[in-house]
Symmetry: C2
Amino acid sequence: MARQKLRIIPLGGLGEIGKNMMAIEYANDIIIIDVGLMFPKEDMLGVDLVIPDITYLLERRQKLRGIVITHGHEDHIGALPYILPQLDLPVYATKLTQGLISVKLKEHRYSEKANLRTIQSGVKFSLGNFKIEPFSVCHSIPDAVGLVIYTPIGIVVHSGDFKIDYTPVDGKATELAKLAQLGTQGVMLLLADSTYAELPGYTPSESVVGQTLERIIAEAPGRVIITTFASLISRIQQVIDAAAKHQRHVFVIGRSMRDTVRMASELGYLNAPSDVLCRFDELHRFPHNQVVLLTTGSQGEPTSALVRIANRDSSQVRITPGDTVIMSATPVPGNEALVNRTIDNLFRQGAQVIYERLAQVHVHGHGSQEELKLLLNLVKPKFFIPIHGEYRHLSLHARLAKTMGIPESNIFLMENGNILELGPDKGKITDKLPSGNVYVDGLVMGNLASVILRDRKLLSRDGIVVVIIAIDKRRGKIIGRPDIVSRGFVDTQEGENILEQGRALVATTLDRSGGRPLEWSFINTKVKDTLSKFFYEQTRRRPMILTTTVEV
Amino acid sequence: MARQKLRIIPLGGLGEIGKNMMAIEYANDIIIIDVGLMFPKEDMLGVDLVIPDITYLLERRQKLRGIVITHGHEDHIGALPYILPQLDLPVYATKLTQGLISVKLKEHRYSEKANLRTIQSGVKFSLGNFKIEPFSVCHSIPDAVGLVIYTPIGIVVHSGDFKIDYTPVDGKATELAKLAQLGTQGVMLLLADSTYAELPGYTPSESVVGQTLERIIAEAPGRVIITTFASLISRIQQVIDAAAKHQRHVFVIGRSMRDTVRMASELGYLNAPSDVLCRFDELHRFPHNQVVLLTTGSQGEPTSALVRIANRDSSQVRITPGDTVIMSATPVPGNEALVNRTIDNLFRQGAQVIYERLAQVHVHGHGSQEELKLLLNLVKPKFFIPIHGEYRHLSLHARLAKTMGIPESNIFLMENGNILELGPDKGKITDKLPSGNVYVDGLVMGNLASVILRDRKLLSRDGIVVVIIAIDKRRGKIIGRPDIVSRGFVDTQEGENILEQGRALVATTLDRSGGRPLEWSFINTKVKDTLSKFFYEQTRRRPMILTTTVEV
């Protein structure tokens, strides 16, 4: 009997940044790698979250063996609370990742039902026909792993999100020797992180940031206020270390930051001596030059501690000249304006603000081109799929692989929903699943009708005008004058006049129909056309016009 | 008699990027420098443009002497069509800038009424008590100038937008010798561009880009498609030169690019030999490796030629493998997503795409920190005002000036609407004008009520629900069942049920009021509260709720 083919099905993260999820299928087994979410893009008005479409998996329930998570970032674990209740599978993750998943599931009141299993680097486990061996990788969160997946037709290596840092804060470097050994043994397929495939050279080590932070803390005349991602535990460790070295005390502001610090300390991922890490109510005991404040708000989130401080809206901290603020994070695409406004406001309060453009107070967690080449060189895969990235990142990573000697026919430039059927000697993209995104909007989860998004977009542009026409239902005739209300279209001054004229216009238009009984479609079209034209002439705006009749 | 003070009044561009405008007042004379516009920020939903508030000037009409423009970019000339009809002043600009202003005024049918006067570097002219001498500066558009303003109490230098490029494409370097001479003579006040005060070092010369473009064009196997800003005339010249050197022909696609090329050629700012620059209908005559296409679309504008090409939506050009696309521009903040989508789609069509992150195919037009220091060093001003930039840029530039030896009390960190009163020995910010922005939204120009913007934001998030209640006006009682319509809130499937339940709920709520006559405010509050709570429970969305009664 001919051997079956391996199916690689990316359900998220390919052709976009975020909501990473991939299914690997062989015969009667499917395993799932990562279950992430994505924050909505600009044109997804009012959408809260975007998660992967799992129709393909729901149709093959009996084949599903388990979910393996590479690390604890939102774009890898964030959709679990939405998808786990539908799939009810065991979730395999390292200790810290499991801690972060637990926190998340608890928020959604699903934690007791979840079946979480701990994995660790170098310890194999089986899921159906697959044998899986995690290996340590460096990333901007501790306890991140890549996966070696032993399949019946060959070895698959999945990089997870990774960079190569020889001096990581937690001491766990990416396991290059293991990868080299696998490369010698023969790897059929490599799936590798493409997020920073645009950048030449190497991504700097976390230790560079440690040195910068230490220098700034040493030289600061007053308080140092540092903001970073709550999940960037290694950065928090660096801040604690630098503070300790310069006889400063660290105070944590913001719930999510406090929760992470507590959890990571309990699990042993953060070493925070109690004389360095102090309770906030002790803050007044220390002079400014013995204080470091660690806070959320690195993305300029309007309700975060840092933004409230920047807006003089915090009861806890007020900026005084002499304060130094360090933004130890990059704005996530889309947050630039919020972050810049926060920086501007901190400068206005008299703080010295240090951010990525001014000093190396942040490095990112993904490998640049030289690291990607090193991985390709060590693993020497027969086939290659660039994963995690928008299309240009995948394209550039594919081109890099080609320059490293992998034949073009063995490189698969895939996007979400593509299905690759891979045999030992060749592969082919055979299918395209219909959908990619499931929108979470309030409690609703689904293919949020594009008509809703279109309506919201229209509404946001020029507002809405509602025309209400009362009709005598026995005689089919209009009663009184039509009414008009609007929102987001004109302000009260200019509006009164224009809306009043619109009202008169509707009345005239409807009068012209004479004594004939009124047809709804006639009213609707006629009123919309007339008003739309009138409003555009008067204001050059095109509000949405909603006509409704009340029959009495 | 004591000498009067100079008043410096920034009306735009300080504390923000864009809509640059400044008034300088002495005794009975006011001059205006630049009249720019700004594109709306994310939270200005539906606004088309933002222009400066000129109330201060309108109240002092008899003092106004003229408008001086430093260069032809939108953020320096764009508000002229809106403001010139209100002020009716002569506009002084260099030849190319004047050409660009004419094109703009013609679009707004105001060109015949405008009084445009040509100025040039080194030629002084008088406006009331002020004598003005333009000097050449390098920027990302030719014919840019800074201004030396001789006032009765001292010399003021306004840098315009500038960088220091020793090898500019048009050969006109920033006039350092003139600035040094002024510095020796004694400059009272320097106003200098802060846009790139964050960046250490020097901004690279335009010639670096020329070399990169030439190398790419020389090596490209097929067509080269280049996009840049239509106003970046020096870049267009570089493309024409590189194409000519490698025996390629240049074809221009897109109306605004064609208009600029024609105007700049006529005025002598672009040297485009007719055998290099060809008519588009000759394109088919040449093999791909003899073709360069120059096109608009560098900002991912949805209707631009390049975006249509990227979306396979152009009848003129279809991408084939072998094509090289060069994005010779930076995304203006806010356009990143559109630009990235365009790049992704070009990769999808099989093009090789080269953009700023991959090669130096663009340099910006503003000076970095070393250039700002050089200017300060040469001009040696007594007083300094950082202009053109968000607050952090102004702050960093102010700090730079302090490190150069200007006393902190002589540096004025101003924002739009501040008024600085400056004497020969000291200055003071004495006032703050109430407003900064005038929104242009359709035909309306004004202080677009914040309530409109807030409404549009609410509408864009979760849509709108309109409740219509018919009331018998004689008896003050409800007739029939209330009606509910919605847009952008729920889709038709889920919606029908929820809206029907909402309708029933409103009916019940109103019934409880018993036989009492109904008060409008009671209905409004009661219905809104009840529905808002119900919809949130059901959907976790908070649509805007608009209650309206029809009396019959």
